[in-house]
Subunit: 191 residues, 4 copies
Amino acid sequence: MAEDTRGKILKSAVQLFSKNNYHVVSMSEIAEGAGISKGTLYWHFDSKEDLFREITINGMNYFNNQFKKIVQTDQNSNEKIHHLIKFVLNTLVEHLNMIDVFRNNVELISNEFKDTIEAKHKENIDVVAEIIKQGIDEGIIKNENPVDISTMLLSVLFTPQTKELLDHAQVEKKINFIYDFIMNGISRKEN
Amino acid sequence: MAEDTRGKILKSAVQLFSKNNYHVVSMSEIAEGAGISKGTLYWHFDSKEDLFREITINGMNYFNNQFKKIVQTDQNSNEKIHHLIKFVLNTLVEHLNMIDVFRNNVELISNEFKDTIEAKHKENIDVVAEIIKQGIDEGIIKNENPVDISTMLLSVLFTPQTKELLDHAQVEKKINFIYDFIMNGISRKEN
Amino acid sequence: MAEDTRGKILKSAVQLFSKNNYHVVSMSEIAEGAGISKGTLYWHFDSKEDLFREITINGMNYFNNQFKKIVQTDQNSNEKIHHLIKFVLNTLVEHLNMIDVFRNNVELISNEFKDTIEAKHKENIDVVAEIIKQGIDEGIIKNENPVDISTMLLSVLFTPQTKELLDHAQVEKKINFIYDFIMNGISRKEN
Amino acid sequence: MAEDTRGKILKSAVQLFSKNNYHVVSMSEIAEGAGISKGTLYWHFDSKEDLFREITINGMNYFNNQFKKIVQTDQNSNEKIHHLIKFVLNTLVEHLNMIDVFRNNVELISNEFKDTIEAKHKENIDVVAEIIKQGIDEGIIKNENPVDISTMLLSVLFTPQTKELLDHAQVEKKINFIYDFIMNGISRKEN
DNA sequence: TATGAATGAGATTTCATTCAT
DNA sequence: GATGAATGAAATCTCATTCAT
């Protein structure tokens, strides 16, 4: 029962935070969306920030866990990268909301929280950098700072435009387009 | 005096909006930052939204104008792209604040305003697509939808991570890194 | 507790609105008068207009209900008119404040609200017109448009001067004076 | 030239105060309506209250002067009353605005000003009471307190409903209706 | 005379948070 | 666990008024 209410709150909050900015979403709305009273909301979460924290960190952990799983498979780096892109873009399609929570709310709340989020993001970058290192070792990826490369890779995947591209359907085709962009850039390759 | 005050307001507002979310920045703060009274602030701008609108649209127009100038030079596409990247990244370094105004505040305010901003952004994409077309014609850029390519290019340039990379100095080096990433992606080129 | 607070708010608001114009009375004053905080005031009423609406419509309904009761008695028209005058003037004496709410605030707020109020007033006129019709049938009242006569009758009763007359005591005497004015006008009757 | 500006201000103010409540009309609007700046407005009038005072007192004096003229003619009381009614109702039709200035703004501003206005009104009542006295002497009007009768007479003439009746054209007919109401009331006269 | 710019007090309203029941 | 009611700080905005030019 308890978990039920908690779940309803989180669901309502994710939905609202993904559509609107942190400061525009009110605790009243969240409570209403969850079908409970404000009092109850405050029984489950100490504050608005607390609630937002939980949602954000859950989301980041979700990516972190999946990234780690991908690293640990015994695929070659090429396959892993393809896997990674596919996973991120499919998540973007299936769980648009959760992703937008980050987009709409970067730089909010306290600096201490911003640091937490950035640390989590850094973690993700480092996990993906493992794949890059593997690729360099395998001679597939150019030999530059793996962290810089990982940074660019993730920034392309989480860029708002990526989502826009996906909006217009044909996901599979777009995945290949983005994969090719990341691997080969925009210049014409002679063969 | 009048223009002077207007300028002071805009400066104060850009500074604050670039550090904090639209809803966190208060008109009192902006007034205080400009060294004027709230009444005066409202004499110059009808509303907070009005003020924000002006700043945002000014910023987008700035990019749009520069992009157009680059297109109109008689450089080849390769040079133009290099020029473009250099311009954007240098602007990011010199006018960090103005850029962050967008970052922190997309999706805010009214839908009508969001549409305005998106239309401006689309304009920018289309202008850059001209360069891509030229590159395809010159056999430098791969023959795919120029608008899609332009979209990716700009998304990489305006991605938050780009700014992070730049934060840690060595701008010139990073420009080359990003240029290479955009042109050739991350895979190892055999030579 | 809840109803109690609501009542305190309404009492405070009626008192203030009856002494001062809608725009001069502030929500702070109303809250202070009710011994509660502004936040609580807004918990009970969505807006100042909402609060004013409730008071006004309550008041008009009060008159409407009484007027209907008078119509439904089995008195003759003469008695009903006397009854009506007595009721209105006594209410003016006992609930001066509530009446003044209308006086001080007609034409305020939105047009939509003005229409609501005018519709309510028209209802009152129509109800009283029933009495006038009865009087015409009974040969007591002159045979002219009953709605016009009803309009004049009510306008005399609710005229600010009527209240002034009443201020100077001797209510019973003044009731007769007004009754006589309404029935016979000011000209001398020969007998 | 100077009078010209003053005149423009007064005209603009009358127009606005007659349509909206004192507190809803702003000095900016008045200035705009007069085609001048706020600074100029304040050069001609010390304050909003000052401006409103002038308009109101002008209006009341206008009625006062006309009433006095009517009293001083050598008509009999019957004719004078008819004259008075005609004058007031025609003014209501021709200068609706000016009249509404009172209607919309009674009880506003300071108590001291309210007293001034009430004193002016009392003056009007007293002037009209002269006519009533004459009527009593001539055996045309019933022998009751002339001031009370005058009060009722004026209250009927200035009642909002009177204006409504007039709105629907046929002024001449309505004048007779009101005249008859004032003289004979609503009861059926046997003949 | 006339103006544009500036001011500051105060108004309405929102909202995260608390607490007695 | 849950709720309705209450709070108070702070936000946006309005407006009469002033003043240097």
